[in-house]
C-alpha cells in the first residue's frame, strides 16, 4: 500500500499535467542518447558485425544470431553455433546491450569488448581464435586500409573488439512510447497502458526491472519462490547461472536480470528460451519470482504496458 499511494499520486499528476515536457521521476529511466564515437570505427564495427570470417568456418557473423533487421536476436530458444549445434543459452538481443551492467546471462564479463572475445573464441559459438581472425581481417585490403585510417596500429585483436563494441553502442532503440511518456509526453500511453505500468510497479516487477534498461543492472536468483529449473526438468550446466563464474553456492541459478526493453518482440524468453510467449514469461515471473498470482486483468494490463517498451531501430522504417 505504501508504494501504491505515491505511485497513484504520480500517475494522477502525470494525467493532470498532460503533455508537459518535464521528465517524470520514475524508477524506470528513459533511454540515453547514443554516445559520441568515431564514425569510422562505428562503420568498421558494422562491417565486422556482419563478418562471417569471424567464425572459424566462415558461416557465422554476429548478425547471424543478433539479427538487426528483426529484434537483435533470433527466434530460436537456443541459437546454433558454427557447427550447427545449439549453444548453451538463449541469445539475448543486442539492442541496448551496452546499457547492461554486465554481459551474458551469467554476467561473466563487464564490457562489450570482452563479450565479443568470448563469443568469437567459444568452441560452441564461433569457434575461432584471434590469430585466425586477425589474419583474415588483415588479409582483406579494405579492412586493412580502413583500420589503418582510424587505428594507428591497424588490425589487432583489441581494435577489432573496440570497433565491434563501438558499433554495438549505437544499437539503441529510442522513441519507445514508454520513453516518450517518461520524457513527459504522458498522452502517448493509453489509460490501460498507464494502469499496466502502475500494476507493473505494484506487483513488484520493478524490484528487479528498473533503471535505464528496465533490468540489466543486477543479478537475481531465478526461482525465488519454487525451483523453476527443477519444474522445467533436464537441468544443464548453464542452468547453474552465475555459479559457473564465481563458484559461490549463493550464486547457483543466479542470472543477470534481463532488460525488458523490446520484450514484446524478443521471444522466446529466459536464459534457456523456455518461455515461448510473453504471457508464459509473465506467468513464470509471477509464480517463481514474485510468489503471487495476479488477476487476469492485471496480467493483461502489465502485458499491455510491456508492449509500450518496444523502441525504434534507426535503420528500420
Amino acid at each position: 500500500m505504501n508504494l501504491f499511494r505515491p505511485a497513484m499520486t504520480l500517475l494522477l499528476c502525470g494525467l493532470c499535467a498532460g503533455a508537459s515536457a518535464d521528465p517524470l521521476d520514475e524508477p524506470l529511466k528513459p533511454l540515453p542518447a547514443v554516445p559520441q564515437q568515431d564514425a569510422r570505427r562505428v562503420e568498421l564495427g558494422r562491417r565486422l558485425f556482419h563478418e562471417p570470417r569471424l567464425s572459424i568456418n566462415n558461416t557465422l557473423s554476429c548478425a547471424s544470431c543478433h539479427q538487426l533487421d528483426k529484434n537483435g536476436a533470433d527466434s530460436r530458444s537456443l541459437s546454433l553455433g558454427f557447427d550447427g549445434k545449439p549453444v548453451a543459452v538463449n541469445t539475448p538481443t543486442v539492442f541496448n546491450a551496452s546499457l547492461n551492467f554486465r554481459q551474458f546471462w551469467d554476467g561473466r564479463v563487464e564490457t562489450l569488448e570482452e563479450q565479443s572475445n568470448v563469443v568469437i573464441t567459444s568452441p560452441h559459438e564461433m569457434g575461432s581464435d584471434w590469430s585466425t581472425v586477425v589474419e583474415r581481417i588483415a588479409n582483406d585490403a579494405d579492412y586493412r586500409r580502413d583500420f589503418a585510417a582510424t587505428y594507428p596500429d591497424g588490425v589487432t585483436k583489441t581494435n577489432i573488439q573496440q570497433a565491434l563494441a563501438s558499433f554495438e553502442r549505437t544499437l539503441l532503440t529510442p522513441d519507445s512510447r514508454f520513453d516518450q511518456y517518461l520524457l513527459g509526453n504522458t498522452d502517448i500511453l493509453t489509460l490501460d497502458e498507464k494502469y499496466g505500468y502502475q500494476r507493473f510497479k505494484e506487483y513488484g516487477c520493478i524490484a528487479c526491472h528498473q533503471g535505464v534498461n528496465i533490468g540489466g543492472n543486477m543479478f537475481q536468483k531465478f526461482g525465488v519462490f519454487g525451483d523453476y529449473i527443477a519444474d522445467r526438468g533436464n537441468p544443464t550446466v548453464a542452468d547453474q547461472g552465475r555459479f559457473n563464474v564465481t563458484g559461490d553456492e549463493v550464486d547457483r541459478a543466479v542470472f543477470k536480470v534481463p532488460s525488458l526493453r523490446n520484450v514484446a518482440i524478443t521471444a522466446p524468453y529466459f536464459h534457456d528460451g523456455s518461455a515461448p510467449t510473453l504471457e508464459r514469461a509473465v506467468d513464470v515471473m509471477f509464480q517463481y519470482q514474485l510468489g503471487r498470482m495476479p488477476s487476469e486483468e492485471d496480467k493483461r494490463l502489465i502485458m499491455l504496458f510491456l508492449t509500450t517498451l518496444t523502441g525504434q531501430r534507426e535503420d528500420k522504417p
Binding site: M1, L3, P27, A207, N217, M218, F219, Q220, L290
Partner: protein, 604 residues
Amino acid sequence: MINISRRRSLLLLTLVALALASILLFLYFKSSSDQTMTYTESRDLIRQIKQQNSLWENEILKARVALTHNYDPLVSPMNEMNRLWARFDAIESGHGRSDSAQWNEAHEGFLQAMQEKTRLVEQFKSHNALLRNSLAFLPTAEDDIQEQLANLADLDKLQLQNITTDTYDLLLSALEFAQVTSDDRAADIEVGLNKLKINAQRLPPAFEAPIKIMSNHISLIAREQPLVNQLLESIENIPVAERLDTLTTMLDRDQQRVDQVDRQYHFYLLLFSVLLMLSLVWLAIRLIGSFAEINRVNTALQTANDALEQRVEERTRELKNAQSELLDAARQAGMAEIATNVLHNVGNVLNSVNISSDLIARKLRSSKTQGLGKAMQLINEHPHDLGAFLSEDAKGKLLPGYLNQLVGAIAQEQQEMIDELNQMNKSVDHIKDIVATQQSYAGANSMTEPLFINELLEDALRMNAGALTRHHVTVVKEYAEVPQVMGDKHRLLLILINLISNAKYAMSDLSNRPRTMTLAVRIVDDNFLEISVRDDGEGIAPENMTRIFAHGFTTRKEGHGFGLHSCALAAIEMNGHLTAHSDGPGKGALFTLQIPLISVTENA
C-alpha cells in the same frame, strides 16, 4: 702551434660551457619533476574514488530503506570508481610504483577490497530487491486474507477474531523484524507462521493460496532480512576507504620525499646559480683586467711602434746616405775601372805608336839623306869645274850614279816612313776612339754602326801587327761569309784587341812548335754572330776557368786583371756573351764571343 692551441682552448671552452649547461638542465629538471603534478592528479583521483565510494554506500543505504527502486545508482559509482582507478593506475604505474612491495600491497589491497565489495553489493542488490518487494507486498498479502476473512460469515466470531489478530500480529512481527532484526522477533515470526498454518487448516480451502503466499513472503523476509543486514555490515566493513587512505598516505609520504628531494635540488640549483654568478663576476673582472692590459699593451705597442718608425726613418736616411756614398764610391770605382781600362787599351795602342815612332826615328837616324848632303858637299867643292869634275874626276864620275841610287833609297825610305806614320796615325785614331769610348761609357750608350766584321778583325790584327810579327805568330783566318752588320765598333775592337793580345801572350813561352793563332767568324743559328780566337798556347787551368773573367784576375806578372773582365762586360753590354774554353794547361785556349746578329738590311 698557436692555431692548434687556440682550437684546443676553444674546444675546451665549448666542453666546459656544455657541461655547465647540462648540469643546470639536470638540476632544473630534477628540481621541477612532474611528480608534483602527478601527485596532485593522483590525489584528486583518489579523492574522487572516495567520493564515489561514499556515493555508492549512500545509494546502498537508500536502497536499504527503499527510498529508491532504481538500482542504476548502485552500478554507476562502481563503474566510475573502476574507471577512475584505471586512470590512477595508469598514472602511478608510469612511476615505477610497481617496484615497491608496499605499494603493490596497498594496490592489491584496494583491488581486493573493491572486488569483495562489488561482490557483496551485487548480492545485496539481489537480496534487498527480494526483501523490499516482499516487505512492500506484505500488507497487501495480509489485506487479501483479511478481506476474505471479513467476508467469511459462517465461522465462529471469536475464532475469526483470533485468526484475524494472529494474522495481523504476524504482519506486525514481520515488519518489526524488518526494523529490528533479533532472534526474539525471528522466534515470534516462527510462532506466527505456525499459528497461521494451523489457522489455515480451520479455514476453507479458498484461504490456502493467500495464506501460502503470505507465509512464503514472511519466510522470505525472515530469511532475507538477516542476510541483507549481514551483507550491509560486511559491505560497511570492507575497507575500501581505508585502502584508499593508505594509498593517500603513501602518496603523501612519497610526495614529501619528492618535495624534500625537490628542495634539495632547488638548493643545489641555487648553489650552482650562485657559483655561476660568481664565476661570471670573476670573468667580468678578468675581462675588465684584460681590457686594461690590452689597452696598456696597445699603448706600449704604439709607443714602440712610433720609436721604431723613427728609427726606421733614421736608418733609411742613413742607408740612403750610405747608398749615395756607395754609389759615389762605385761611380768612382767605375770611373777608375774605366780609366784603368782606357789606360790599358791606350797603353796597348801606345805600344804600337812607340814601336812606330822608334822605327821612324831609327830610319831617320840611318837615313840615306846624309848621303845627299855628302854628294852636295862634293859638288860645292867644284863650283867652276862641275862639269869637269863630274866627267873627269874619279869621285865625280861616280856621283850621278850615286845620286840616282840615293834617290831610289830616299824614295823607299820615305815610303816606309809614310807607311809607319800611317800606322801610327791609325793607332792615334784608336787612342782617340778609346777615349771617345770612355766618354760613351759615361753616357752608357752603345753606339752601333754598320760595319764589316772582317775589316774589324783586320784592324784589330793590324793594331797588334808589330807584336805578332815580333813574336812570329802565324795568324790563320777562317772567316765565313758575313754580311754587313750593326755593331758597336769600339767595344768589338776592344774585345778583339784584348783577345788577340792575350793569345799572343799565351804563346810567348812557346818554343817547341810554331805559334799559330786562329781567328774565326761564323753565324750561329742565324741569330748570333760568333767570333772566336784560338791559340795553342799555355791554356787555362780548370781551377781558373771560373775566375778568368773576374775583376783583378790575372796570370801575368805585370797584368792587372782587367782585360778579360772589361771584355766580358762589353760583351754583356752588347747583349752577347764571352766564353772561354780550354782542354787544360798547355793545350791552348779558345775564346768565343757571341753577339746578336743584326744585319744592316734588317735594321734599315
